[in-house]
Amino acid sequence: MHAFLPKYESHHLMSVRNRIDHLFARLAVFFATVLAFAIAITSQPKTAIGEESPLHAHCGDCHAGNDAEGDFSLGQIGSDADNGDYHALSRSLERITAGEMPPPTSSVLSTSEKAAIVHFLKQRLRSHPDQINRDYRLPPRRLNNREFENSVRDALMIEDVGTHQPTDNLIGDSRFAGFDTHGQTLGFSNFHLEQYIESLRSIMDATILSGEQRPSERYEVQPTQIFSAHTSQNINRPERRGRPTGFDFLDPKQLAYFAPFKTVPATGWYKISIRCTALDRGYYPATETGIHDADPIKLVIQLGNRHREFELPDEEVMVINLQEWLAEGTRLRLRYPTDGLTLRGNGNFKFQNAIAGEYIKKHDPNLYKRVADAIVTKPGRRVLRPESWHHWVDYWRGPRPRILGATIEGPFYDSWPPRRHTALLPELESGKTVEDLIRPIATRAWRRTVHDGELDHIVDLIEANEEKLGKTEAFKEGIVALLASPDFLLTATEKSNANERFASKFSLFLHSTLPDTRLIQQANTNQLSTFESVHEEVRRRIRSANIQPFLQEFPYGWLNLSEINFMSPDPDRYRFYHRKRLSEDMCNEVLTFFNHVVEQDLPITEFLEADYSFINADLANIYEVSDIKQDSHMRRYHFHNGRRGGLLGMGAFLTLTADSLGTSPIHRATFVMENLMGIHPTPPPADVKIEEPDIRAARTMKDVLRLHQSEQNCATCHRNIDPFGWAFENFDSVGAWRDTYENQTETPTKKHNRHDGPRIDASSTFADGTDYADINAFRRIISTPENQERFARCFITKLLTYANGEVPSDYLEIDTILKRAKDHDYRISATIAAVIDSRLFREE
């Protein structure tokens, strides 16, 4: 949640536990900066706009002179002689357009006055030297780890970087405002470089094979040779093995392995055949196991970092046949993917065995009695009652996959050297020069034309190594050097031309990888020089290309989803959230909704206004919805009470803005302002001193904030912040509806949250006098055309931040994008295309 805090700290994760006071301190001066209009000032500087102009008449009372309110005076937007401060101009425009300035308590603008002021301010911006001399070129940035992995894959023309987890050593990328594309945040150090070299070497070793071809072998795996791997450090306890009838998956946390084939002995193709079935789905009540009856039982085959998932048929043998290129050292593991079997005890699987005892007690009382009677308590030991899980381990019949056996054969090769090797280095033995061979790889990897002489150093390296290491190994060194170079690791440097940069950026934006040949060709022949052509291409790619990286990463960054468990809900009070891994469902809800908007090419305002979302049975439990199929699949659902639908009712937003035990309207307000409305509170100067009010008498959050507002410092800000957050007060820390607060004095019970605290008041009044009673009314306010436009501007800014790796500051150019998006009813494909077609994206 650090992303809601001021930028200068956001590269460090900050705890948010004491955020209320914190935020007060930080936000105090923001509104003091831009908003506060209270004290009349007499001295007024000469401004470009006459004393009788609307700007002067409505703003001059407060924003003039050295003591101007909010550290902003009309002088900052310029005089006849100077153009003023660009930032101050665009901030003023934002506030006035949004209707927040001037505050209705001070002054009321007529429509024509407002238009005149807006026109005037835009004119100022347009003629501002910052605008006229703006250099749109962005500095290169390091590829983030995702882009690195995808780009290496495409440069080497392989299916992925390899199953031996060759990029696991890379240093994690820090995010800025949620995004992992931020140039300044990504940074570059010798640690990075060293890890890149190691990673590249390891990828090359599994792609280009030298030496003798390895003979193929066949491995038969009997069920008794399948083991459940240790998950704890207790390695003295023997691992559970399969029975002759099959290996059953019990604890979903445990991974199974084949004793005859623990790791891949040599890189190459392998045929893997696994005979398996699904058992006892629905045997125990779903309420006990936490596994929905309608969910198929699945099996995941983990080939290092490549995962294959299969749905198994009930009580029927299925043969899974795989053919995979596997790297030496890859671990083959199998897993039962489910978010169930964690509802008992502290969540450890062993406690689930008690379910078997309960089932037998009900259905086979004789057996139950036999087991209970056979319990002998040794002297000095704990007395274990019959219902204790210990006695029922052998009777477990929970839903589970069973493996009946497996065959693995390999390594195979399509040719020797293998085809991926010859595809990359064709005719290594022929008469081609070293440079001829590596030029195509360099051209792909560097995303540009490679000029004469540029490869000299790499050719030298290869030739110098040839005698020592042999031809193949020497080439591998050369390719590692080529990929460890800034031309690959940094996005377009000045050596690429405008078309090449555009293709590269377009591709990074939508695909997080190197541009494909079509894109390069389109860019080189100027086929993407108009909005229409870009729009057409974006639509084509949405339909038929892999834009998964965009569909995943953009919403993740925009909505800060990576932070959902940074201050996760209290595990004692919100057991269900943790036990059923609700955070994953919540993120999936966001991604599914985003995907839907893109796929259907809906207006982006759908994010705020939709009365539906995509939920499964576990989310339905939190949202208190019953008329939905009881399984894990995400389905479209229309909410009829007007409280949910779109982003504003999603658990992800409501949870990631909450603390462990409580919620804060301020955090939610800040989230809405920063990520949906595009309002950015700036941090106060460090010397601001906030008196901490005495809040001991406060009973509810509203009381707490009211007391804070008794401090003038706090009040000026919070009049403007709080209204964006109060509406969500009826949603608790996991986004469930509540009419009253939890009773904080009670210790949290494990069964259920106590909601018998004070009644919740979710009403509030915006600074412009608009008020609302509850979330329903708030949602109507947020859908006005002004707010739609504000949201669209914010969304466009987020797209640009993701694409450019820095926050755009060009108000007018964003205005142009906004207008174009609006002309297309804010349809998402047009909005994206307008961003790509902008000067900010094209950097020209």
Binding site: I171, S189, L193, G329
Partner: protein, 450 residues
């Protein structure tokens, strides 16, 4: 051991690059007989230890660089016997901590700090980060443990950025910035070999070859790059310079490593009675002695020592049951006594090591090595008997802090202090300039230093 194989092993961990990380099952190429001979042959070579890092000191520091020692267990401590009854510097010492009485003015015992985890086993692995592997994606440094963060800070200034030791098995205490578990060396003989045994000529040769290969790649990239940067305009230049600096720094690191390979390690004679037939006390004493000597000779500045769950503590007097069994004592007096015996043993080992460190005068400045060593003892579990992960038993010693005795660190609302606040303070003490660490809400300001 083939060429490629070596590269994979030796370069797996980004911040432990100078030496092969010994795999739990692996040795480094000598048979047991040779090793034993070597060990015995080293007697009497303990005169003036040569400081490993002297050759690399770019400038002589005014003060001895700080060391960091973490000692941890998986089950916490029996609270009634660990935490003193009263607070302040004049606390009455508790049964478990009796052996540390000599150090009471250089000790801080912290009550009411934790990572806010629910009860149960398995969460203790978050001891040094406050983050469980399952939540690691929310944090840029994943669940990187404190020791690894310190090790990264030290880098290649010393031969081993960090050393992890345990007996028989580990407790999953160390994690890298990529969320990968860093396994401790669980055999004292292997630890000895790792720390003090020189590489064979063949091993040296292979390592040098790999370093040379990486160096020539850097050369190539650097050459090619110098032309790029020459032409770069102001906008590009800044980012490109970052890259250029990285190339140069990595070249220096590689050359440091080359020097390490050629330099002999310091010598240490421990006798041989800690080997297979030794008691666990003997073995732990050997482990602690090796770490103390590694600190003394500046072989490493960051060390972790673990007391695992499965170890057979029954050769300690008064212990008849398993460690885990003793934690489930149902408050039976006998069992509690056994547990306290195990826990006291852990503290005794620590105390003996700290005494040793205190007897070492550092070469830069007039202090003991203990005053230059930040010592952290604790566990990610509060107390095994209740499976509680709240109120962790945490103790800080040495490190030149103005120690506090026994402190209650709850805030005015009665909430426990995030343990990461303490970690932030330890980091700052170590010279790492940061203002937050995972779940910290600030630093533990009460623990100051001069």
């Amino acid at each position: 051991m083939g060429h490629t194989r070596l590269s994979a092993t030796s370069l797996k961990n980004p911040f432990d690059l100078t030496e092969v990380t010994i795999e739990p099952n692996g040795s480094i190429g000598l048979n047991a007989c040779e090793r034993r001979t070597l060990l015995k042959g080293l007697g009497g070579t303990l005169a003036l230890p040569f400081l490993e890092s002297d050759a690399f000191a770019k400038k002589t520091p005014d003060k001895e660089p700080l060391r960091f020692l973490v000692v941890g267990n998986p089950f916490g401590m029996h609270p009634g016997n660990f935490f003193p009854m009263d607070f302040g510097k004049d606390y009455q010492s508790s049964p478990t901590l009796k052996s540390l009485d000599w150090l009471r003015d250089r000790l801080t015992i912290i009550s009411h700090t934790d990572h806010n985890m629910v009860s149960g086993h398995g969460r203790e692995i978050s001891f040094l980060s406050g983050v469980l592997p399952t939540d690691a994606q929310s944090f840029p440094e994943k669940n990187m443990s404190l020791d690894q963060l310190f090790a990264r800070h030290v880098g290649s200034q010393v031969r081993f950025p960090s050393v992890g030791a345990s007996l028989d098995s580990g407790i999953r205490m160390s994690w890298t910035a990529n969320g990968v578990e860093k396994l401790p060396i669980t055999d004292p003989q292997q630890l000895f070999n790792h720390l003090f045994l020189n590489l064979t000529d063949q091993q040296k040769k292979l390592r040098k070859q790999m370093i040379a290969r990486n160096a020539s790649i850097l050369d190539t990239v650097g050459d090619q790059f110098s032309e790029t940067i020459k032409r770069a305009s102001g906008k590009d230049r800044e980012r490109l310079q970052q890259f250029e600096t990285s190339v140069r720094e990595l070249e220096l690191t590689l050359s440091d490593r080359l020097t390490w390979i050629d330099r002999n390690k310091p010598k240490l004679d421990l006798g041989s009675d800690f080997l297979a037939d030794g008691t666990i006390r003997k073995k732990y004493e050997a482990i602690f002695d090796m770490i103390a000597y590694a600190f003394e000779t500046d072989l490493t500045r960051v060390a972790t020592i673990e007391f695992p769950a499965e170890l057979n503590y029954t050769d300690l007097s008064g212990v008849n049951r398993s460690y885990h069994g003793c934690t489930h004592n149902g408050r039976g007096e006998d069992l509690v006594n056994e547990l306290v015996a195990i826990e006291s043993f852990q503290i005794e080992c620590l105390s003996r090591c700290l005494k040793k460190l205190d007897s070492i005068r550092v070469s830069h400045g007039d202090e003991s090595m203990l005053d230059r060593t930040i010592v952290l003892f604790g566990s990610g579990m509060g107390y095994g008997g209740t499976h509680s992960n709240r109120d962790l038993p945490i103790l800080v010693a040495g490190g030149g802090f103005k120690h506090l005795g026994h402190v209650d660190v709850r805030d005015n609302a009665g909430r426990n202090m995030p343990l990461c606040n303490l970690y932030l303070t330890l980091m700052q003490r170590f010279g790492i300039e940061r203002d937050s660490f995972n779940t910290s809400t600030g630093s533990f300001e009460a623990l100051d230093w001069s």
